[in-house]
């Protein structure tokens, strides 16, 4: 049987990083105070309590689920399109979701401008993500080459971005500013009261991805083999579309278009587990996604001079080297051959 060790390592790592996120932050709070707050004991500083409960805790939960969700979406896309370089941002799905958010934020309501991640912007992001995914799937029937399909995805992303630029051009200064800030990405925009919605939708998406494990393994052999094994390709495609659309949409609408997590994390998981079998690979990808997101959050909210760094300043520094490593070593890596 497969080794459980990478899963255990990833689980412990995720747990440690989650705890670190509660104790560490841009505001300096003594270790013992955080412990007291977490244990429900009375502390002197009301401010400290509010930081831990209202800010750090929701942020850690958000990072945990957003990282897992984006990574799972990336893995599903890579298997579904038989392309290890697919991912929500490369295929333009994140841009589609961003366009949905832009429509809601920049046209929908000036009053909404300041807040991302309301129910409407979640819906906007979902519709945007599903529409782009639909377009990509349509093209995947016409374009058989994987590389060409990636380029189609990048083009679709550009078209979505051009619409976003246009919306920005006509929007009010204040809306453009809040859209830009949202676009830099962060895990701190899910407030304590928004948390239930975010948690429920993310968990639905993650659960759906777990239910797809069996057909995903068959899809590794390609669609013709999968059909012969009795996989209902149409239904599986629709479920994959819903699942990746939902996960990309919920994360993007709250946290902004986060790059590289969906693309790079499945590779880290494959290299760690040394397997393409989704029974181990999917849990490993979920955990590695959470761990990476929590690590990035920690780096963003280290006590820097000017508050909290935007997430998209950090994620490429993790993601890009992974992808370059994988491409350079592809002849030595099992799952590429």
């Amino acid at each position: 049987m497969m080794s459980k060790r990478p899963l255990i390592i990833l689980f412990v790592l995720t747990l440690l990083l989650f705890i670190a996120n509660l104790f560490w932050g841009s505001v300096n709070i003594p270790f013992s105070d955080v412990l007291d707050i977490l244990l429900g004991r009375e502390v002197n500083s009301k401010m400290a309590e509010s930081v831990v409960i209202q800010s750090r805790f929701p942020q850690a939960i958000t990072a945990l689920l957003a990282g897992a969700g984006l990574a799972a979406a990336g893995l599903l896309l890579q298997t579904a399109f038989s392309n290890p370089l697919a991912g929500p941002s490369i295929l333009g799905i994140t841009s589609g979701a961003s366009l949905g958010v832009a429509v809601v934020m920049l046209i929908g309501g000036g009053a909404l401008g300041a807040i991302s991640g309301t129910m409407t912007s979640v819906l906007g992001a979902f519709i945007g993500a599903i529409l782009t995914l639909g377009v990509i799937i349509l093209f995947s029937m016409m374009v058989s080459s994987n590389v060409m399909l990636l380029i189609v995805g990048i083009m679709v992303g550009y078209v979505a971005n051009s619409a976003i630029t246009l919306l920005n051009f006509f929007a009010s200064e204040q809306n453009v500013f809040s859209y830009t800030i949202w676009g830099m990405g962060n895990f701190s925009s899910v407030s304590f009261s928004d948390l239930p919605l975010f948690v429920i939708i993310s968990l639905v998406g993650i659960l759906l991805s777990i239910l797809l494990i069996k057909p995903l393994n068959a899809l590794l052999l390609g669609e013709r083999y999968a059909t012969n094994l009795g996989v209902n390709i149409k239904r599986t495609r629709i479920l994959l579309l819903l699942c990746t659309g939902l996960l990309t949409a919920i994360v993007t609408s709250y946290c902004g278009p986060i790059s590289f997590l969906g693309l790079a994390v499945p590779h880290v998981a494959r290299l760690m587990t040394k397997s393409s079998n989704h029974y181990t690979l999917l849990p490993a990808t979920l955990l590695a996604g959470s761990a990476t997101a929590l690590m990035c959050t920690l780096l963003c909210s280290m006590p820097w001079q000017s508050g909290v760094l935007p997430l998209n300043a950090i994620t490429p520094i993790f993601g890009a080297p992974v992808i370059i490593y994988v491409i350079v070593n592809r002849s030595k890596i099992e799952y590429f051959n």
Partner: protein
């Protein structure tokens, strides 16, 4: 074991599309295959070999006529039932290099396992015996990517065996292999047909090799499909007519195909 009819094809028309715009590739195909028979399909490119194989595995719908496997029409059984009756081997490029050999063969149990694909002890023993039938048991813990092309094809055949279907169809399984691997695969399949009592049907361009190994030939000549025993097909000049339209004839003395002599 007593021979029984596994595959029945009646007045089948294969092709693409639907209704008036349909493109018919071959019309009126009828034949029947018994258990334990090893059948090779021969014909030019574009004659409809792959289309027929796709229709037999229900990847593609027939334009007219009927295909029955073990007495039941392909149109009337569920995808799961179908995958327990017809297994397929292609030359498709897979993304399964990161799976262990035994994991790939275990995918053959897909139609038998439950929602999460949990394997029972019986499933595992079917996988192991499929691996030993193709002689790859000692490589079960290797990655698929570590195998040669010929070995990979054996693993895909083992996957088909693990599916435990009476009918196995293979679309040019020897296409990218070198000569020793081709011969090895062909004789392995013949042996499996005989010893495991499987009906095995495959398309190939290895005409000369097939004549010595096939029980029967399925010939695509002049927009028709004909089933004949190998000796019959050679004597009735059907083999000789296979590539006539392309200026290639069969030289009985040499037992090989040669270009038509210009007079």
């Amino acid at each position: 074991m007593e021979e029984r009819v596994i595959l029945e094809v009646k007045n089948l028309t294969i092709g693409y599309g639907k209704g008036g715009s349909a493109i018919k590739v071959v019309e009126n195909i009828s034949f029947a295959l018994n258990s334990g028979e090893f059948i090779l399909m021969l014909g030019c490119n574009g004659a409809g070999k792959s289309t027929l194989l796709r229709t037999l595995s229900a990847v593609q719908l027939p334009l007219a006529g009927e295909v029955k496997v073990c007495g039941e029409s392909l149109m009337e059984i569920t995808p799961r039932e179908l995958s327990q009756r017809v297994s397929a081997v292609f030359t498709d490029k897979t993304m399964a290099g990161g799976l262990l050999v035994e994991e790939v063969v275990a995918l053959g149990r897909y139609p038998y396992t439950g929602f999460f694909g949990t394997m029972t002890d019986e499933d595992r023993s079917v996988v192991q015996s499929a691996l030993s039938l193709v002689g790859m048991q000692e490589k079960s813990k290797r990655y698929l990517s570590q195998l040669s092309d010929g070995e990979r094809q054996k693993i895909m055949i083992a996957k088909a065996l693990a599916q435990q279907t009476p009918l196995i169809i293979l679309d040019e399984p020897t296409a990218f292999l070198d000569l020793p691997s081709r011969i090895e695969i062909l004789y392995l399949l013949k042996q499996l047909a005989e010893e495991e009592c499987k009906t095995i049907i495959l398309s190939t361009h290895d005409v000369e090799q097939s004549l010595s190994v096939a029980d029967k030939l399925l010939l695509f000549i002049d927009d028709k499909v004909k089933l004949a025993s190998t000796t019959e097909a050679i004597e009735s000049e059907d083999v000789a007519r296979l590539f006539e339209s392309r200026g290639i004839v069969f030289d009985k003395e040499k037992g090989a195909f040669v270009p038509k002599q210009k007079r």
